[in-house]
Amino acid sequence: MEKTLAETIKEITKNHLELNNGLILGQCLSAVGWVNNTVPDTKNLVELPMTDVAGGGIAAGAAIVGRRPIFVVRFQDFMYLNSSMLINYAAKAKELFGISAPVFIRALATEKKGTGPTHSGIIHSMFMYAPGFRVCAPMTPGEYREIWKDFMEHDSPMFVSEHRHSFNQIDEIKDIILPDSQITIYGIGYARFNVLKALEILTRQGIKCNFINLLWLKPLKLTHEKIESLTKTKIGLVVDSGFEIAGASQSIAYELMKKTKIYVEALGAEDKPVGTAERYENGTPSVEKIVNKVKELIKLKD
């Protein structure tokens, strides 16, 4: 039977802790479902106290001495506190001191259902901005295996933007390239699921779109295949769950425009904090919003 993403994370982690003498650190790892059943009950697991600033430094210190720690932050919003030592030391150490501090940062995002202002943020863009990190947003078992392999092959800290709503995912998400598509949509992280739903609606309405997965945010792996579609459709859209302003969607849209001289827009979360009640939710652009944006851009092109 094929594994879910959660089972894949758990398996990778178990192997790392048992076979590589790796470490996993985080707050309340063994409590209430073992972080959505992604954490194995085995050796080399360290429960951190509520040390939301020191925790990142402890992880970086363990990385310096070669343990390649997995540092779990249960809600990505908490990274505002937890990131200090990671940004200031782990990410800079290689360049400044020639010391490697490869921390695998599992930053779990979620949204909706009243998760509110401190439990629903998706802030991977902040780590693209800080020099020294590899940044990715895996949503499938295959993607997770790829980024783990990459982590073990490099000596940089890696920011892994996870999303709890993807943990049951089994299938891989494939790029969609159709003849005569009118637009190329690039999807980042969890936003890809809403893009795929939007594509179903757009297809029914006779609008053909190409769809490209962006697993890596930094280094941004814009291969020829990922750019070729844009050069054919002549207009593009990058969709992300994180904030749009100065975020991954805008940054990547700019990179695509620079490479192709073709107009690309960005669509992400709005520039406002998230509230708890449903009417105040703000995160991954809704399916409806994506559909409307695609139509607006196609109209603009015509």
């Binding site: 363990a62 310096i64 343990r67 030592m85 001191f97």
Partner: protein, 293 residues
């Protein structure tokens, strides 16, 4: 604060006392030359001098041999006391590619991996959680972690030290307490002592002057019972950064220690010879690196 006159015995003999004196003097001479070089603009980076605080690392290095050292921005004394490469330190201060951090760290960001000294990047107290993480990752290694009285006020310090205590991590925490955060005195910043707080959780602590005899006693008492915390009250002679001086230092531990050695019957000629040798070597060392006048 604990007093020396409460001690019942010496924790070190003549040879160790001389060694410590040599190191204090060596650091002092190095720092004096660094000051001179800064004042004539040969050193262009902000400089954090250890003058006045040398006895702490000089004494610890005689009794405690750590596998890793995590120190702070005022780290020249630790670097030299534990045998860091002084040529590379000078080159770092001069911003050269051959410096101990290729000119990227400057005075606050020095390191020498040959002595296990891991670079500090300038964020006050960051070395404490890093040291704790290193000890967690490599519990068979002994670690020295040095910081100042300002750093202990950083919110992540207490949580890091108490984590080390919970997990019995082998770290000797040293606070070089010069009572100043830039120029703001401790009493204006806080109403508590870190040693009282740590005593409250049951951690071995000491709050002492930077007298080598006291430091020797406490390091020897604690070094096989880590983690432990020693607050050493010391006197920074110069500015936080740069080479200025606002007032005459209240104490010069170098002179105090020399006098105590003389009082114990150590020959003045012996100390003078040591001083002359160190002075000469230091001048030669700097001459190699500084531009010809």
């Amino acid at each position: 604060m604990e007093e020396y006159n409460l001690l019942k015995k010496d924790f070190f003999g003549k040879e160790q006392k001389i060694n410590i004196y040599k190191k204090i003097y060596e650091i002092r001479e190095f720092e004096k030359q660094a000051k001179k070089s800064f004042d004539v603009d040969s050193i262009k980076c902000p400089i954090y001098l250890s003058i006045g605080q040398e006895s702490i690392s000089a004494t610890i290095s005689e009794f405690f041999k750590p596998d890793y050292i995590f120190t702070q921005h005022r780290g020249h004394s630790v670097y030299i006391a534990f045998g860091g490469n002084k040529d590379k330190l000078i080159d770092e201060l001069l911003g050269k590619d051959i410096g101990c951090n290729k000119g990227k760290g400057g005075s606050p960001g020095i390191q020498d991996l040959n002595i296990g000294m891991i670079g500090h990047h300038g964020l006050i107290g960051e070395n404490v959680p890093l040291a704790v993480g290193a000890a967690l990752g490599a519990p068979e290694k002994k670690i020295l972690c040095v910081f100042g009285d300002g750093a202990v006020e950083e919110d992540y310090i207490f949580s890091s030290i108490t984590f080390a205590f919970t997990h019995k991590l082998p770290i000797l925490f040293i606070c070089e307490d010069n009572n100043l955060s830039i120029l703001t005195k401790k009493a204006e910043r806080r109403s508590w002592e870190i040693t009282d707080a740590l005593k409250g959780i049951g951690m071995p602590v000491a709050d002492i002057l930077d007298d080598p005899k006291l430091i020797a006693q406490k390091v020897n008492e604690f070094k096989n019972n880590l983690p432990a915390f020693i607050n050493c009250r010391t006197c920074r002679h110069l500015w936080h950064v740069g080479t200025g001086q606002d007032e005459i230092p209240s104490i010069d531990r170098l002179k105090e220690f020399k006098n105590s050695l003389l009082n114990e019957g150590i020959d003045l000629n012996e100390l003078t010879k040591i001083e002359e040798k160190i002075k000469l070597e230091n001048e030669e060392l700097w001459k190699k690196h500084l531009p010809k006048q």
